[in-house]
């Protein structure tokens, strides 16, 4: 359980907002968010229940005021660039849930769009926590940015703690294998890790498959420059004609029905892999249906 924040000075402390250019940019960005989202967004934001302390942060470092400003460009991408369409989002249950999605598109826009859909369209509105790679905290500026918008390093313990607090977690079991794959493998799920299944069993969390259709075409990579990647010490170096920048494709997010699994988290790998395969098969068929259903890439 999260450590309870108990404070005698619960009266919200009037924090110093950042001054100068930073403060200016922040207030402009916040206004941009509100202009894009309108009254509807304001109402949804006010329904978010983040256990903030008098300094405006939750125990994991999420700062709603900061997040409000930071989401502006993502919100614009969601509404006007990728024109995200959700299907079946009403199936996302309230309370703890693990969103399992396919990963693609070189830049992890799919994660940002799923996160946005949870804020804008899911009931109740919520901040999904993506499980961030372990090297993210070593990157300057990126590390605090992720933390302030509620993203958490994907250690099993962090995941357990968030689920125990009834939060929504977003996992891409393919990891970079999915994100950086070349275009010839589009909409083919790559190898799944099984850590998510262990945690779901342990915490009795429903798994909700999310098929992202559209992201594959945002930056098609024709060739993975493996030798150079090895030399640079990065997992892959895919070369795409767009130089990795996303094209204005249309995103479709298909939400499946929640899947609940029973059994022990300490089962043999074989048993666990059978369950993982079940999720993978379901997600693949949702992907295939989603691709067949769409009329145009753009």
């Amino acid at each position: 359980m999260l450590p309870a924040i108990e404070s005698k000075a619960l009266a919200r402390y009037d924090r110093d907002r950042p001054r100068g250019i930073l403060g200016f940019v922040r207030s402009k960005m916040e206004k941009w968010t509100m202009d894009l989202g309108g009254q509807d967004l304001e109402a949804r934001l006010s329904r978010l229940v983040a256990p903030q302390n008098e300094y405006g942060v939750d125990p994991f470092g999420l700062e709603l005021d900061f997040a409000k400003a930071a989401v502006a460009p993502v919100l614009w991408l969601y509404k006007h660039y990728f024109r995200v369409e959700t299907h079946g989002i009403e199936q996302v249950p309230a309370g703890r849930v693990m969103l399992i999605a396919n990963h693609s598109g070189q830049l992890p826009m799919d994660g940002a769009m799923i996160g946005m859909s949870m804020l804008l369209e899911a009931e109740p509105p919520r901040i999904a926590r993506a499980m961030v790679e372990k090297w993210a905290p070593t990157l300057p500026y990126v590390a605090p940015f992720f933390a302030r918008i509620g993203q958490v390093v994907g250690t099993p313990e962090n995941c357990r703690r968030l689920l125990a607090a009834e939060e929504t977690i977003l996992v891409f079991p393919e990891g970079v294998r999915g994100l950086n794959k070349t275009y010839d493998k589009k909409y083919q799920l790559q190898e799944f890790g099984s850590g998510f299944m262990r945690l779901a069993l342990e915490t009795k969390t429903p798994i909700l498959p999310v098929a992202v259709v559209g992201a594959e075409e945002q930056a098609p990579a024709l060739f993975d420059f493996k030798a150079a990647a090895r030399f640079l010490g990065i997992p892959a170096l895919p070369l795409s004609p767009t130089l990795g920048l996303p094209l204005p494709v249309k995103y479709h997010l298909h939400f499946g029905a929640p899947m609940t699994f029973t059994g022990s988290a300490d089962d043999e790998d074989q048993e666990l892999e059978r369950k993982v395969r079940e999720v993978k098969t379901r997600l693949q068929s949702m992907l295939d249906a989603g691709v067949a259903q769409r009329r145009s890439i753009f």
Binding site: I5, E6, D16, P59, F60, K134, P137, A147, V153, N158
Partner: protein
């Protein structure tokens, strides 16, 4: 019946002695003088490694040991504080067994986990003690914690508590975190702003008091009133930090430390870069620990501010 406090003359030791002294008989052990000691407080000025320390135990008056004679001074040669900390701890733990003490409380800290990029956001008591992985000079502190754990498992007849508080701050303590927060223009690492946890020195006293009660046994993280970004601490204190790129900060600080222009070795910078925050729920649940100071009071205590409150806290 009395509690023996080792390291009683330190800044924290004196605060804690005064808290404990209200409730029970306290005997102190320290090489250093204890200015302003309460009159009926008996302090023995001995080196903890000396054989004469055993005489204190032999008298049979001591039923509990609070061990906090642990040197953290980064200026001392490694061999010196290593010897003092490890041999001193080993000796008093042995005497505690030999003379049938009921209770041993050892003051460790969450630094034994160490700040790392892939740390859990809330380290539990079962997390590995990797503190010396990136900061070799503190390996004696990890060893002290391990010695206490060993003794806890080997001697179930003694109630052993290992207390690991987060960064201790307060008007009296002069440790690395509180000294850092007293710098008018402190460094921060450019592009890093980790969540930090602070605890007031008197809240540490309260936790130790609870650990000394009969029945308490085990390893406990002791966490203050919450966690917040380092930048928020700076704003609360009215500090304007200097952002230093992390790639040059470490070698630069090491040089400054070498020439006595800085009080911290470069390895301490990890605390400004990565998480080392702990889960304190076990102490809340099992010891009934609740910090008495709010987050704001705790932060501002480094300025010497004491909030107005009724006696007894």
């Amino acid at each position: 019946m009395a509690v023996l406090i080792t390291g009683i003359s330190g800044n924290l030791g004196r605060v804690i002695a005064k808290i404990l002294h209200r409730g029970e008989k306290v005997i102190g052990l320290d090489r250093r003088a204890f200015p302003g000691a309460p009159k009926d407080l008996e302090v023995h000025h001995l080196d903890i490694r000396k054989r004469k320390v055993e005489d204190l135990f032999r008298k049979g008056e001591i039923h509990a040991l609070l061990h906090m004679a642990i040197i953290h001074d980064p200026r001392l040669p490694q061999a010196e504080h290593h010897q003092y900390n490890v041999l001193g701890t080993k000796a008093v733990l042995e005497y505690a067994v030999k003379y049938g003490l009921k209770k041993v409380v050892v003051l460790s800290s969450t630094n034994v986990y160490g700040p790392q990029p892939d740390n859990d956001n809330f380290l539990t008591e079962d997390s590995p003690l990797l503190g010396s992985q990136r900061f070799a000079d503190i390996r004696d502190l990890v060893e002290v914690d391990m010695l206490a754990q060993q003794s806890m498992w080997k001697h179930p007849e003694i109630e052993t508590c290992i207390i690991r508080p987060v960064h201790i701050v307060g008007p009296s303590v002069k440790n690395a975190p509180s000294n850092y927060l007293r710098i008018p223009r402190p460094w921060m690492l450019a592009g890093f702003d980790p969540m930090v946890q602070l605890i007031h020195e008197e809240d540490v006293g309260l936790a130790l008091q609870l650990a000394l009660k009969p029945g308490a046994r085990g390893v406990y993280n002791v966490v203050g009133p919450g966690e917040l970004p380092l930048s928020a601490v700076m704003r609360e204190l009215g500090r304007v930090p200097i952002p230093v790129p992390h790639l040059i900060a470490r070698p630069l600080l090491n040089k400054l430390f070498q020439y006595r222009l800085a009080g911290f070795p470069g390895a301490e910078l990890d605390h400004l870069q990565f998480l080392c925050t702990a889960d304190g729920t076990r102490a809340v649940r099992e010891l009934g620990f609740r910090p008495q100071y709010t987050l704001r009071e705790t932060i501002r205590s480094v300025l010497g501010e004491q909030p107005a409150r009724e006696a007894g806290g």
